[in-house]
Symmetry: C2
Subunit: 167 residues, 2 copies
């Protein structure tokens, strides 16, 4: 299962986006979405989303709360959980079940069943496209069971970490 790659030492999936762009795009997309849907993109909601998109990595609810506190917002638990629920409903945030953490969506405004690749050493997380990842998640309908939501998480060790371990 081990492939060597000279030149490129990092897992591409973790590094293949221009995050400067990503940040600006994401803010713009969420603004437009809320405008179009007549939903309030309140300072609190904006702040929570900014906290998540800033470093674009999974954060626990209590980490988000700390950040909110530092920025002058209330930092009692329901504040974070309510906003996170709201952002998740609208597809701008996903929960990583394996980490009890939340992450900004990498591909909002497209209906999608996200899959996540999680390095258990460095805890980097990548949201991967179903097709791209080679997962085919073909059958949303299992024997008349109506699937509403899928959770797909792949945990392992990324190239960077596995190289670091063997040096």
């Amino acid at each position: 299962m081990k492939k060597k790659r000279e030149g490129k030492t990092t897992s591409k999936i973790f590094d293949d986006h221009d995050h400067g762009m990503c940040f600006d795009d994401a803010i713009e997309q969420i603004e437009n979405y809320f405008l179009k849907k007549n939903l309030q993109f309140t300072p609190l909601r904006r702040k929570v989303f900014e906290i998540l998109i800033r470093d674009h990595k999974p954060l626990g609810a209590y980490e988000i709360l700390e950040a909110l506190g530092r920025d002058g917002f209330s930092s009692s638990p329901p504040i974070a959980y309510r906003v996170l629920d709201f952002l998740m409903e609208h597809g701008f945030v996903h929960k990583i079940q394996g980490l009890n953490a939340f992450i900004a969506c990498s591909n909002p405004n497209h209906s999608h069943s996200p899959a996540f690749v999680i390095c258990r050493k460095c805890e980097k997380v990548a949201e991967v496209d179903e097709k791209k990842s080679g997962i085919s998640f073909n059958s949303p309908n299992i024997d008349n069971f109506e699937v509403e939501k899928t959770t797909v998480e792949m945990t392992g060790v990324c190239t960077t970490c596995s190289r670091a371990a063997t040096i």
Copy 2:
């Protein structure tokens, strides 16, 4: 939440096994496995597994602890978590992330990446075979990322519950 069973109204995936057989087989399989591997199938471990396989439904750690207490074992949290970790390591128990609950494996002694179908109304859970479910999880290797473990959970509403809702 009552079950009607005229003809064939239930989702087959939830009902297609003879649980009497399942229970006996499961106990026998786990005994044999531990024997072969020279591992101790202690009274505590046996009891935890029995609790899980008895009704063959997901149970929270604290529910298991209550049951242990009723049967004369210690019911402090580490007791359950340690045994559950042990049973999970050996593939006889899986964790349902979406429910913070644990369930006896439906197909032990076969290396497998289980997928779960979860009804959010009745909380019934079925462990489904990858092939059977139509999920093909073909690519364990994503851009050099070495996948060690996959979590696949499909949440929705089962036929029984969806019929009940529309009556």
